[in-house]
Symmetry: C2
Subunit: 306 residues, 2 copies
């Protein structure tokens, strides 16, 4: 049997069984150290899989930092330090690597963290694994959602996927709203502005990296609850609306399946809704299991038209 037969999550289940670590499966691994809870995470960007060699290296560097910081924020923390494991072909242009690090440095400045070390090794394709260490006052897992709570999401959904599709069209020129969507794919921003809110109020939390349906399913499974999503409440940006109108697409599909938005998806009591944050109540937590969209059980495949 091959990896592709069991899929990423099937493989993770088998690894959990070997290692006997029940905690594997959250956005970060918490580590108690005296009064402090450290949060540890790693995420990789691979050439040809997560980015193309034609993408600006500053953007790749920015995104590599952001996706790791996003995991830490989703667990209710803020990043402190990062290490970079950079694997690349010896024929890579030096300026490419310098621009990559410029992008990582800029992101670190933005998120108020720093790169303290790393490793460089040869490989046929560029593969960048980042490791991030953060701190939190309270670790928020994916497993704490309780019936009666509301499901919230930060920002807007689906923009990154639309941006990627626009990039792949390789048009000679783009309209301003198209450039905005492309930016959201190339340079996503981890929602550090939510760290305090999540650590203070959220019972369960994750970031939207795989796509809303898939990430909501992680919360549902690990919390043993049913999650209802109401599509009429999904936050769609003006840019995504324009995109869907121009290219005859369904914005709900982009919001449900898009992925790589690096918004936060979390649950808590409705009364803890903070109107000063751009958070939207998109659903409810109930007794039961599975993710339901407008009352119907949602299999990802059922929605997958991409």
């Amino acid at each position: 049997m091959k990896i592709e037969d069991v899929g990423e999550f099937g493989l993770i289940e088998r690894i959990k069984r070997i290692l006997g670590e029940e905690t594997i499966g959250d956005d970060t691994a918490p580590l108690k150290l005296g009064e402090t809870t450290l949060l540890l995470t790693t995420d990789a960007l691979n050439e040809g899989v997560h980015f193309l060699s034609s993408f600006p290296p500053e953007a790749v560097g920015w995104k590599a930092v952001s996706v790791n910081v996003s995991d830490i924020v989703a667990s209710g923390g803020l990043p402190e330090v990062l290490l970079v494991s950079l694997n690349l072909p010896p024929k890579t242009e030096l300026s490419y690597v310098e621009r990559l690090y410029e992008g990582m440095k800029r992101a670190c400045k933005f998120y108020n963290c720093r790169i303290v070390g790393g490793n460089i090794a040869k490989l046929e394709r560029i593969s960048i694994s980042l490791f991030a260490l953060g701190k939190t006052e309270r670790f928020v897992p994916r497993s704490g959602a309780k019936p009666g709570e509301t499901l919230f999401v930060s920002g807007t959904l689906g923009d990154s996927r639309a941006g990627l599709e626009l990039l792949l069209m390789k048009k000679e020129s783009y309209e301003p709203f198209e450039l905005a969507l492309i930016e959201r794919h190339l340079r996503p921003t981890a929602r550090i502005d939510y760290a305090r809110h999540v650590s203070k109020y959220a019972s369960a939390s994750t970031d939207v990296s795989d796509g809303l349906l898939s990430d909501a399913l992680h919360i549902s499974e690990r919390s043993s609850v049913r999650i209802n999503i109401n599509t009429k409440n999904l936050p769609i940006s003006r840019e995504l609306q324009l995109f869907c109108k121009k290219y005859k697409k369904d914005p709900v599909e982009y919001a449900l399946l898009g992925g790589e938005d690096y918004q936060l998806l979390f649950t808590h009591k409705r009364e803890n809704w903070n109107p000063y944050l751009d958070m939207t109540p998109i659903g409810e937590v109930e007794e039961g299991k599975g993710v339901f969209v407008d009352g119907k059980p949602a299999s990802e495949e059922g929605w997958r038209h991409f």
Copy 2:
């Protein structure tokens, strides 16, 4: 200009300039947290570069953990937790990955640490980046060597290189001493038994991963001292002696340049020599700069006959 034109260390110098982190260049990055000093490191094993697909996956897993633990021990610490960033082709056999994790788990048990998380992503070749977090009572850098001190090394040198050459011969059968050398290449052991000694006495320390000359040069450069190595004192195993006799090789060359032995190279006063550890005084620290072998300035190229 390409990466291969400036080399690994040229690239690291440029990255240090971009990030403005003077600490980059030690085996680990120390992070003060209250009373505790955390040690952070990352190291990668890439298929076709650091291991071949024909190597037993348990050994690759064992080695991936060991090379990271070795960095932590070299800084005077002991490992606590690890994260695994695993990149691999979807056509990889599931059993290969399971055996890889079995090897990592076995190593973690041996070193008394655990894997608490990770990430899995697609890539054309297998690339395993591990991230390790350890603790120490005192961080030992590469930069503290002082004139008058003695240079010590743990264990024996050159075995791993001989083991690799034997592996690449693909012989139908091997003699027992040959199998022992192969084992030392496939399953090196990080010297956790030295953690206390290094953190208590060493002024400078690193592990022998690139090769004795190269790693001694790191201490010499960062400590701004001259290091003399006396070849008559180099610890050569009985197995390497047999190997060199059989294949007409010079054991000194293997000891000076071999690499991947994951022994510890450290400096302190001669009187702190602990006769209960398998440490050997192989040289002296003096005022000046550079690494000298038997009184002659040693350029790595001058010795490089591999």
